[in-house]
């Protein structure tokens, strides 16, 4: 089933949660919605499921207008962030739920449902859990049951809200591979929400980056990593050091920076802003340069430097500890900064100094590591 979304808006009270979302998902595709918390991912997913209703916009699935279809009739599989398993039903009955609530005329016989549940248990490799209650399962097991319950109705569209959000790292990686297998085997169109870049890029065919109710960029891992479409994406992808630069026929210049490695940018001359990751900044000792090393901290593999500039402020750089000139990079040394990779955007008005954002500018609790 192909999904076509256009101009979707939604507000809760005074906040615009979605401000004009356009998205196409083709049949059998696995798409990730990636964004910091509060960017409207869950709301978008719930609108597709029919659990929320947009204020404006269109949602068509296989050219059928889904905004006129009740959630019950959409035949979607929805996996909730905290699983939402029915606590008073055994695993078997949880999985059978979608089949056993059908109207009598469409409901399969008891034996058919039981066989279908057995098949699902087998497919998800949870046969041994069939007679347990959800309260007796681990997080990863609950996740599998939740997916089994959603898949049992053979949904045309599968929607997953932070499916691995509450699990620890090793189980996440396991389940990720397993989910990909399930998707490929069922051939359903799948959209899943995550705030974890690694998860999105590893699992999805295409990644949709969302920020504050808007789609910022759609693409594959390399493109989003190397060519962020907006400052938001650049920051979200870890380019947390920002320098004010001046563009001169497509070349960026700034005091104490060597930006010659970056390709020309087709932007008008004048002030602009350069976004770089700390690990893409190389430090070159240069007695005449304006940057000074303010501090140097080692975490074993890397040295993290804080640099200061009399006019521009502070910047951060990450350097492998075993680089040749590491010994020369001592506090108070004067250095030049060579930017190996980065992206230049038109200047945001009113910001003329360097700024460093801590890499996790999204809330810390959301970090997976």
């Amino acid at each position: 089933m192909s999904i076509a979304i256009s101009g979707l808006t939604k507000r809760f009270g005074q906040t615009d949660v979605l401000c004009g979302v356009d998205l196409e998902v083709s049949k059998g595709e696995l798409v990730a919605l990636l964004g910091p918390s509060g960017s409207g991912k869950t709301t978008l997913l719930k609108i597709i499921a029919g659990l929320e209703w947009p204020d404006a916009g269109r949602l068509a699935v296989n050219d059928q207008n889904w905004l006129q279809l009740a959630a019950q009739d959409r035949r979607i599989g929805f996996v909730f962030q905290h699983y939402a398993l029915f606590p008073h039903m055994r695993v078997r009955d949880n999985i059978a739920f979608g089949l056993s609530v059908r109207p009598r005329s469409e409901r399969p016989g008891k034996a058919v449902i039981a066989a279908k549940v057995d098949e699902m248990l087998h497919f998800l490799q949870i046969t041994h859990l069939a007679d347990r209650f959800p309260g007796q399962l681990s997080g990863g097991q609950r996740q599998r049951v939740a997916l089994g319950r959603a898949l049992a109705i053979e949904p045309a569209v599968l929607l997953l809200d932070e499916p691995f959000g509450a699990l620890d790292a090793a189980i996440r990686r396991d389940l990720r591979r397993w989910l990909r297998g399930v998707h490929d085997a069922t051939g359903s169109t799948t959209i899943f929400v995550t705030h974890d870049q690694e998860e999105a890029f590893e699992l999805a065919d295409r990644v949709v980056v969302m920020g504050e109710g808007r789609i910022e960029q759609i693409g594959h891992a390399d493109a989003i990593h190397d060519h962020p479409a907006t400052p938001f994406v650049a920051r979200f992808m870890g380019a947390t050091v920002e320098f004010p630069v001046t563009l001169n026929s497509g070349r960026a210049e700034a005091s104490g920076l060597d930006i010659s490695a970056l390709p020309r940018r087709a932007l008008p001359d004048g002030p602009a802003r350069l976004f770089a990751r700390p690990e893409d900044i190389t430090l070159i000792p240069d007695a005449g340069a304006p940057w000074r090393i303010a501090s140097r901290i080692s975490n074993g593999a890397h040295l993290r430097f804080v640099l200061s500039h009399p006019a521009l402020g502070e910047a951060e750089a990450d350097v492998p500890r075993r680089t040749a000139n590491a010994d020369a990079l001592t506090p108070d040394a004067a250095v030049r900064l060579r930017i190996e990779a980065g992206t230049i955007f038109p200047a945001e008005r009113g910001i003329a100094t360097t700024s460093v954002r801590s890499p996790g500018f999204e809330p810390v609790k959301e970090k997976s590591r």
């Binding site: 659990l51 019950q72 398993l85 029915f86 609530v101």
Partner: protein, 284 residues
């Protein structure tokens, strides 16, 4: 348990100080206020011997009183089970003007002296009262009949159902119902298969307490019931009459039967709740 005997005892620090003191005080209080009166009642009953006890409680007037009390309490509880659930549902699930006022009014039967409740109900439902006139015209008499007793019982015990179901309904994860919707369940199926099982233990507990309260209700009933022996005389009133006649044994025997009902009810309710919550057992 066995390791505790071998390992040197390590006493965990408690968050609240004075555990021993606070537990001791509570137990003492419970003993004084609940255990000793109940024990005294039982001893009083034992004192008279089984034959006399049986004679008292099987007298036609006592049997009639028990029948009336149980029947009226059962009807009142069924009414409250339905109405209390509906009330709790409305208070939790809908937003409407005056909701907080309605919520506060739910406590009126708790706060109102039962005699006041009895008097106002009597005034409303007597032949020339606001409701009484209308019902009279339809050929229904409430005052001085068992329906008067049912009414008084229902009025005083409805908060028990509302106030036990309400918090459970509030805590119910909305995602459960949303999950059911995405799986194709209609409103009725969602209520029966998802919501009801979740609130069933609390609902049953509320109904049991309401029933027990109805069995023991006195103040509100005596005004509206007319208190005709064999017709509208409740067990608690009969015990009171016996006491007035200095027939302590008679009063104690009837009271003991009421106590027995209450204990059986409590046990049944606990067993039912235990069963309804069986899926919570054995959780890791």
């Amino acid at each position: 348990m066995t390791t505790a005997a071998i390992a040197p005892p390590i006493r965990a620090k408690r968050v609240l100080p004075g555990f021993t003191l606070s537990l001791g005080t509570t137990l003492l209080y419970l003993t004084l206020i609940v255990l000793i009166p109940v024990l005294a009642l039982i001893l009083k009953g034992a004192e008279m011997g089984p034959a006399r006890f049986w004679q008292i409680i099987s007298s036609p007037r006592a049997v009639a009183a028990f029948q009336i009390t149980l029947t009226a309490a059962a009807i009142a509880t069924v009414i409250n089970a339905v109405y209390g659930l509906l009330m709790a549902w409305v208070l939790v699930r809908y937003e409407f003007p005056g909701k907080r006022l309605l919520d506060a009014m739910m406590d009126v039967p708790f706060a109102l002296p039962t005699a006041v409740a009895g008097l106002s109900l009597t005034a409303l439902f007597s032949a020339n009262g606001w409701f009484g006139q209308v019902l009279e015209a339809a050929g229904i008499q409430v005052v001085y009949t068992i329906w008067g007793i049912v009414l008084a019982m229902a009025f005083t015990s409805v908060p028990f159902v509302v106030r036990t179901v309400q918090p459970v309904l509030e805590d119910l994860d909305p995602a459960l119902e949303q999950a059911a919707v995405t799986l194709g369940a209609g409103p009725f199926a969602i209520f029966r298969r998802v919501v009801l099982p979740a609130i069933l233990p609390a609902w049953m507990a509320g109904c049991t307490t309401a029933f027990a309260r109805s069995l023991g209700e006195f103040g509100a009933i005596v005004f509206i019931a007319g208190n005709l022996p064999f017709r509208t005389e409740i067990a608690a009133l009969l015990a009171y009459i016996r006491l007035e006649e200095y027939d302590y044994n008679g009063a104690a025997a009837i009271a003991l039967v009421l106590l027995g009902f209450a204990l059986v009810l409590l046990l049944a309710s606990n067993l039912l709740q235990f069963w309804a919550a069986r899926y919570r057992e054995g959780q890791k």
